[in-house]
Symmetry: C2
Subunit: 412 residues, 2 copies
């Protein structure tokens, strides 16, 4: 993988030019992508910019508007569609000197119908979704940074399956404008990079918050197993044990916390919140192109239209209660860890895997950082997500760096 | 003006067909708009739809994406630009049977540089902005419903200047997706119609909340004069006195409330919040087309880039404190009234008037409904806004209907 911080260090030291760094990514894409299919399209003549992120090649999930590339939302409805403007976060990256080298594969409208990307750790397995291409592009060493989004589990799960670091920041820390909406209460823009320090540096520059790169004191860690979402697979359970053992060896205090009842209620309510909003945000697509929507998207939109507004309002009340309960939970620990996925990536391209360990944290709007902690047979990584209170993204990143150092290098 | 509720009643009774109702609007636009310039473009062959809003012609502010019309954001940058999809709220209106007959004039990016629309009550005066065309199109009897947005005072002020009813609903009650963003913490989609019942019926259907059309008990009304924003003009002061006297005659209890200190702090902080976010949301436009941005937009974006993230965070904290203070304020009254503008529309097309009485309520995210209460010399209406707690749009609408009935017909 290409480390963003190391790339910038080499550029600062004069050992690398920004254009050479970009060209390295373009070569990697040319060589690797025909088999992997992480990119929908890329610019083989992409040029380096000027600024603190000069030399950083970025893969942009294909639901982010880009003025220089078609933006197809993973859907035939948008085949060849070319937006007028860059989404604000894409423009911000360019302003900082980064280069959007291409658009990464997304499942249709960032939903659950699978896409064509393979897992770079083991091509018979899904890379996860919906940010399939962004996770795979970083994991395969094509780019040091990629943009994704999470509505259920679309950043943290593919990061776990592909063995890369990623952050789903606090709700709306990164602007969602110019990003195709699925469910406005949930959609969260996230970042993929090789390691946690890389993710932190990118987020710090994009948001103008240099303190996000700070390391912290030894954290008090709570463990939430999300029993309401069902048990993990055997390899998932081993991954969580591995992380706990590593944290304890490194001197952290780790204790099991029981999830408040409000979390279970929210977890069960998530599909209603998502489907209701999706049926409104994709109203035009359902009305105009219902016959060519992929099956899972179409089913969810049609289901969303059967839900009453009163039901939706009750779910929003459930979400408020769960967020208040999360505030209390964090009185008992600096951060919480929980599995990023039930286990390693399934051996199939017919599904993107199960988001059941992700969706609660999207509902809560709390920052979550994936750290690869374990390698299952078949070269399949499993990650743990480090979660901090809403708005305390720096705390999540610092504790994730602590965990990453404690477990050591997981993926070869 | 064309009443939405009356139109639907006539259609239900068989006295009017949906297509005749649409054609009536198309004729009115053809006749009136060459002098008034409320529309950027319209479809002279627009067809009626099917559903509860069949026969309702809608004017759509030209920052809402429309698949069937170019969407130019009031800016040369977007000249001729044609989005792929309808914004969700536009699609929802069509799903309900309404017809988007055309796009209404907006100031550039819904900001403060004036546009070409004239005030239908007196063409030497501004109609207000930024939803200039939507307010004017309803006031001139061209359409029974129009969509606008408010970031500072862009729904309530033009409604006041043009003498129409309008609602700026609770923050995000109506989806902003597919609507060009200026400042994401503030941008609020709103509706213009002839009377408050018309606004209520449209909002009830769009949101699936039939209780928004309910009338309520005689309200306890608080009056907030917003002294921190400067005094009203003489005609504005008279308008507020007129509204208070009418409410008291109708049996409402009315008392002056003092604005909490947090309101003044937020009012002073508003420009920072708006400029910081606008400089991010319009990052692409500033980078790519800075030289053809209009002066006020360009100045605000460049100013926004000078503001530190720490300053922005402190303003967001100020906003949270002001919203909490608003919650307490409403323990003293069911609704609050405040002037919708300092006075009638100024005699100029070089400015859209002063939003100083609007921006606090946008910051608070509370629903605000404009009711025309007074006619100043020169046939110039002045409105009062009726404000309810966040999420209680039905309460604001019911009290606004009470006020509307109490003052009687204001515009000829």
């Amino acid at each position: 993988m290409i480390s963003l911080t190391e790339t910038l260090r080499q550029i600062a030291d004069g050992r690398l030019t920004p254009q050479t760094a970009i060209d390295r990514s373009l070569s990697a894409i040319s060589e690797t992508d025909p088999a992997l299919r992480a990119f929908v399209r890329f610019d083989p003549a992409a040029k380096a910019g000027t600024g603190p992120l000069a030399g950083v090649a970025v893969g942009v999930k294909d639901i982010f508007d880009t003025a220089d590339f078609a933006t197809e939302m993973g859907s035939a409805i948008y085949a060849g569609w070319r937006p007028k403007a860059d989404a604000p976060i894409v423009a911000e990256l360019k302003r900082l000197g980064a280069t959007a080298v291409g658009k990464t594969v997304t499942t249709p409208f960032a939903s659950m119908d699978p896409a064509e990307t393979r897992n770079p750790r083991n091509p018979a397995h899904t890379p996860g979704g919906s940010s399939s291409g962004s996770a795979a592009a970083v994991a395969a060493g094509m780019v040091p940074l990629a943009l994704g989004t999470q509505t259920g589990g679309s950043v943290i799960r593919p990061a776990s399956f592909c063995g890369v670091a990623a952050i789903k920041p606090s709700y709306r820390l990164l602007p969602t404008e110019g990003v195709k909406c699925f469910a406005w209460s949930l959609d969260t823009v996230g970042l993929f990079a090789a390691g946690v320090a890389d993710v932190a540096q990118a987020l710090a520059l994009i948001t103008g918050r240099p303190d996000l790169t700070a390391t912290g004191a030894t954290p008090r860690v709570g463990v939430i197993t999300q029993d309401f979402a069902g048990p993990p697979e055997a390899e998932g359970a081993r991954a969580l044990e591995t992380a706990i053992a590593a944290l304890e060896r490194a001197g952290a205090t780790v204790r099991a916390l029981s999830a408040p009842a409000e979390f279970a209620a929210m977890w069960h309510a998530h599909p209603t919140l998502q489907a209701y909003e999706a049926s409104r945000s994709l109203c035009w697509e359902l009305m105009s192109y219902g016959q060519i929507l992929t099956p899972k998207v179409k089913g969810e939109l049609e289901h969303g239209r059967t839900l009453s507004t009163g039901h939706y309002d009750s779910v929003q009340a459930t979400a408020r209660a769960a967020r208040a309960a999360a505030g209390k939970l964090f009185e008992q620990a600096d951060v919480v860890i929980s599995l990023s996925a039930p286990g390693p990536a399934p051996e199939t391209l017919a599904t993107t895997g199960d988001p059941r360990f992700n969706r609660l944290w999207t509902d809560l709007g709390t920052p979550a950082v994936n750290v690869p902690v374990y390698l299952a047979p078949g070269n399949l990584p499993v990650g743990v997500q480090v979660i901090a209170p809403y708005g305390q993204d720096g705390k999540a990143l610092a504790a994730a760096r602590f965990l990453e150092r404690a477990v050591g290098r997981v993926v070869p």
